[in-house]
């Protein structure tokens, strides 16, 4: 009976994984760790890391505060970036090509209510993550298929012009700080 030589089992993921990790603190003080490849998907964060001169040695000791993004959105964003960190560079965004099917994993991740999705888009915009913006755009855009303007108004939470006018009127009628 032959004996298999003992070799350490190394997961492919570990081999590819860059050991450098960064710490991010959300606006509500949740702490997240994110790998270097993943954080590079956010232009804002990567610029910050570069400007702060964070390195493999000091990264974890210097958490990066992100005032504009709460923990819930940051969690989604970190998951997304980790998932897509090894994606190949996509050709220039051809946004009207409908043949592109959003991967099931991402569709699940973005299956949240619209208010949350809009919050996530604001956070994504702030952190400048183009790929996540593209995916959110597809989710929002697909909602408009075969809908009437009235249905869209409800889906996107937009007040009617009359409601909008009423809101504006009440805002201008309310007494100001001095009134």
């Amino acid at each position: 009976m032959s004996v298999e030589p003992e070799v350490p089992i190394v997961q492919v993921e570990e081999v590819r994984e860059n050991p450098v990790l960064y710490k991010i603190i959300s606006s509500d003080n949740h702490v997240f760790t994110i790998s270097e490849h993943a954080v590079k998907l956010s232009k804002t964060l990567w610029d910050l890391i570069t400007n702060l001169g964070l390195t493999a040695e000091n990264a974890l000791d210097n958490p990066i505060p992100v005032e504009n993004v709460n923990g819930k959105n940051m969690e989604t964003i970190v998951q997304f970036c980790e998932r897509h960190k090894y994606d190949e560079e996509e050709p220039e965004y051809t946004n009207y090509i409908r043949e592109f099917v959003l991967p099931e994993w991402d569709r699940q991740l973005l299956s949240i209510d619209n208010e949350e999705l809009f919050q996530l888009i604001l956070a994504t915009n702030y952190l400048d993550i183009q790929k996540l913006m593209d995916y959110c755009c597809r989710v929002i855009g697909d909602m408009a298929k075969d809908k009437t303007p009235e249905e869209l108004r409800i889906i996107y939470g937009i007040p009617t012009d009359a409601e909008d006018d009423a809101l504006e009127r009440s805002a201008s009628d309310s007494p100001g700080p001095s009134g």
């Binding site: 009207y96 409908r98 809009f118 869209l152 937009i158 007040p159 012009d161």
Partner: protein, 330 residues
Amino acid sequence: MLTLTDLPFSFLDQLLAYSGFREIFCLRKVCRGLREYIDTTKPDLKLTQLFITLREDKLYLTIQFREEQVVVEYRNGYGSNLFDFHCVVSDGEVVKTVKGERCMDKTRLKSLKLSQEAKYNEILFEEQTSRNLFERLEECFKARSCRLQTTEINLQTFSVLQVLSILPYLEPKNLKIIELMLPTVPYNKETGLRTWRTEKLEELEQWQMAVSLKISKDICIDSIMNFLHFTHVCVTFYSISGRDLLTIKNILLDTDNVHEFFFKYKHLYHGEQFFESLGRPYIDEQRSLWYFRFPESEQILRVAHWSDSAMMSFHRKDDSSVPGNAVVQE
């Protein structure tokens, strides 16, 4: 509560770029803010083809988008001017719906807007009864701040003047294919001159920069030289001379651009001298064929003459297409 209109403009731009024209229409009707935004930014509606057909008392406007086609029927004498849509085309808006019209998709098209940067792949104007259409189109083309971008123009008209009222307003950098056809209705006294003089067309930048030319009317030309930059030509010359044929042959052998130059002719003057200069032909069915090798190339220029049907072609081909017992002149 956060709504779509609270999102950054960059996201809205991206959303509009992703959306088809129906969704853009629909979004435009959702609220004042979106309407103003769409009207100001004029997102690309992915319009690929405009097809205008004028019949007795109706005008059909077929608008081909990347994903679907919309046909609007305008009927004369209903509510408003048949030509209303023209001014609309001129400043970007494609269709204004007119009350009382039968319109296949009235609601959605009521205020369709076009980006002036939209690149149309083809515009086909098929004129069947009225000359007025072209005058109106010329007016609106003139009013545009930039020339219409299209890679292909297909005009069905009885008059070369009408071609001249459209062609100069197309962006020459984009225009590749010019097709000028006669309408498919029977000839009558309205059908115009027997031949078209193309000299004014030949002067146009659009003509000089296009690569493919097809004209179904007999043409009287200014100079054969003005046809030799096209890679594909299919025309009927009212008259052509042996000297012209020699020019075609010599220029084509000297340049790389022409792929096929085909023409019919009504009158050929001094053709014998030209054909004698080509040497003995290879006879194949009803054609006389001559083969000339391009300098330092594996390709040949095949000159074909159908004397019975008054047709000729100069065709670039691989030398493998030459019959075994035919001679290739070096």
